[in-house]
Structures are given as structure tokens and as C-alpha cells.
Subunit: 235 residues, 2 copies
């Protein structure tokens, strides 16, 4: 019933070969001909498994998100409070991509191109966004927050984590320590800010800001991501 190498297996093989090359030489510096040759395939065959070079990056990021969800949940189990859960949420993501800065460049490349499948806000990447926001939503878990904020905070945390990833792309410090440090400072500050939200003087303008963001469609409906990630992950 099983071929020794199914289509999925070969695809995975090409995928891993390509990632290794991307990590080693960078995305731009790796040609599809090299990917094909290193995979033991002809150029055309490589294109049979991935529609395009960026499509490989797309698969990579899908993998990153699923892995993030997995590791985050694992970490959440041991975390004792919100601070620790946020640490898990941020650092597990950074752990996963730590060695892939040369690759992530490609992911950010088409972020602003609304017509591109890898666009940050396009329909094709919505699933990944939702998965990602879901992680931060779970980090908040049953935190007591007014409902409107409760649905918006995960989006803010997601935005922060996007910013952190961007920062990491430029972080040349060993092990990207700078990025880790920034994350470690951002987390307690976010918590303080959250507490400040209870002060009416602060809450009023924040409410207005949220209303504006909501109206601008920058805050997606929470229901969408909350359902996600429950229905089994990979193969």
C-alpha cells in the first residue's frame, strides 16, 4: 500500500535539503538548481513539489507556527503565572527561528505586497496569523480582563512578536542576545501596562484606540483563532 517514497516523503526531502542550503548560504544565495541537485532531482522535478522558491519558505513558516503552538503548550503546562506563560510564548518562537535569520528574510520580503501569497495580511497567510494569535491567546488563558481588551491583547502581543522577529533579523549580537533582552524587558512592561488598563483615566483613551483599530479591521474576530489548533496538528 505504501510506496517506499511517497510524494509527501519526497516533498519533505526537498524541503529539508532546501532549508539546509538556505540556512547555510542564505535564501537569495541559494538557487533552485542547487536545491534540485542537492535533492538528487532535476530542476523541473523540484518544481513538481514546490510551486516556487518562496513556496518552500511558506511551508517553512507553516511548520514554524505548528511547532510554536506545540512548544508553547508544552511550556504553558509548567508555567505558574502569566509572566511565565508570556516568556514561554515569546521565547519558544525565538528558539525555533534562532538559526534561520537568513531564511526569514524571505518571509518578510513580501509582507507588504498585498497581492503576494506570503503577504503579512493577505488571505493566504490568515491561517498562520490565526494560529499565532491563538498562542498568545492561550498564554493569557483565563486572565481577568474586560472582554473588549481580552480579545485585543492577543493581537497586540502578536504584533509585538512580529516586531521582535524583525528586530532579530538585524540583531548581529551573539545568539541574538539583544533580541532576548528586549523580549525580557518587554514582557514585564506589557504586564504593567495591562494592569494600568484598570485605571479609568488610562482605559478611556485605550478603548477609543481599540475602537479605531477594530474599525480599521486591524483586530480580527477573536472567535476565529480561538477555535484553531484544537483539531490536531500535523500528520
Amino acid at each position: 500500500m505504501f510506496k517506499s517514497t511517497s510524494k509527501d516523503d519526497t516533498r519533505a526531502h526537498v524541503f529539508n535539503t532546501a532549508l539546509a542550503l538556505f540556512r547555510e548560504k542564505g535564501f537569495n544565495e541559494t538557487t533552485m538548481r542547487e536545491v534540485a541537485k542537492a535533492s538528487g532531482l532535476s530542476l523541473g522535478a523540484a518544481y513538481y513539489y514546490f510551486r516556487s522558491k518562496e513556496d518552500i519558505v511558506g511551508a517553512y513558516y507553516e511548520h514554524v507556527q505548528i511547532e510554536h503552538l506545540r512548544r508553547a503548550r508544552e511550556g504553558f503546562a509548567d508555567a505558574r503565572n502569566l509572566k511565565q506563560r508570556l516568556e514561554v510564548a515569546f521565547h519558544s518562537k525565538l528558539d525555533i527561528i534562532a538559526d534561520d535569520r537568513r531564511l526569514l528574510v524571505a518571509l518578510f520580503r513580501y509582507g507588504g505586497d498585498s497581492e503576494h501569497p506570503l503577504s503579512w495580511f493577505g488571505p493566504d497567510t490568515q491561517r498562520q496569523r490565526d494560529l499565532s494569535m491563538g498562542v498568545f491567546d492561550e498564554a493569557l488563558s483565563d486572565e481577568k480582563l474586560p472582554a473588549d481588551l481580552r480579545d485585543a491583547v492577543p493581537v497586540m502581543l502578536w504584533a509585538m512578536h512580529m516586531g521582535l522577529m524583525l528586530y532579530m533579523l538585524f540583531d548581529e549580537s551573539p545568539q541574538q542576545q539583544q533580541t532576548r533582552k528586549l523580549a525580557d524587558q518587554a514582557i514585564p512592561l506589557s504586564l504593567q501596562m495591562t494592569k494600568l488598563l484598570r485605571v479609568p483615566l488610562v482605559r478611556t483613551p485605550i478603548r477609543k484606540a481599540l475602537a479605531a483599530l477594530l474599525e480599521a479591521d486591524l483586530i480580527p474576530p477573536a472567535a476565529r483563532w480561538r477555535a484553531l489548533g484544537t483539531e490536531g496538528g500535523e500528520a
Copy 2:
């Protein structure tokens, strides 16, 4: 003393021809061969004036920034208060790029690529960033603010304006009304936030946040952009 067509003239001609094509068909969809032909030059000659296709976009953005500074100052002259100055700062930028969404895509493309000349945070684009932050700095003008905040707020406004531009890329509403509306809501909210900064309860965590951003090199020295824009603009 002047050739009828100096190198600069020809360069400007190629530039304008290219922009027209980019606007009409989009950046990706326009080939350098088309640019060359439409300019009445051979392919190689076009490359004599611009090192690369993106280099044209680089020149465009330089132009945008200078024009922004010009229009903003013009507008500041008539503005009666901070709110109006911020409106000028934001809307003049949006005015300039309003018809160029298909072109701006290329500008955002290499934002995250730290090795690319058009990178958002790379050394090659520092001048443009400084010019841009300078505009927001001038908008604040002599606003009374604690020194540390006074140097950071222009950076925050700059970041907001980057976000607005990104939003505009995805804004399909006629005339990009959505983006305008978002800007108009963001401005008074920013002002309210600024006032909140006087409340110690708020100011303390904000101070910490600024310290973190400063340490992360995300807030450049204010002196750099304040000097700028005083020494004459274009030709």
C-alpha cells in the same frame, strides 16, 4: 557651460519614465527593457543611470522624503496648534504617496533584509529615516515635554507613520479613505496619550519602556535628525 542634456537631466528623464510605468503597471510588472525603451535608451544605458531597478525606487523615496519635508514645513506655517501640525505631518506624507501604492510595494520588499540597500533599518537608508523623523520632530516644535520623551516621541510618530503606510498598501477603499480615517483617529489619540504621560502612574512604566528601546538602539540620538534638513534641499 550646460549641455542640453546633462547626465542629471537624462537620469531624471529615465526616473520619470520609470515612475510613470511603475504607477501604471506596477513595479513587478514593469521590466527594465520597457523602462529603457520608453526612455529612448538601450538597456545598458538605463543601467548607466541607475545601478539597479530598485535603485530607481530608492531615488523615488529620497524624493518623497524631501517633498515631505517641504510640504510639511509649508503646512506647519499655517498650523495653529500641535494637532494641526500632526495632521499636516501625516496627511502630507499620505498625499505624496497616494497614487504610488503599486510602487511602494518595492520599498517595503527589502525592509527586513539587513544586507539590502533599501533595508528599513540599514545604514543606507539612515538619511531618509532621519529626514522623516525630523519632520515629526518639527511638528512637535516647542511642545513642552520632559527631555527624554521629547526625543522619543518623534520616533514613535515615525513608527506610526510607517504603520500607516503599510496599512495604506492594503487599503483598497476609494482614495484610501480607510487610511485617512485611521490617521485622523490616531492623531487625537496620540495627543491624549501624550497628556497622560504627565501622570506619574503612567510615566513610570513608559520611562522604563523608553529605556529598553534606547538600550536596544531603537531610538536613535535626536541630535542626528535635528541638524538635518537645514542645509538646503534639492538642486
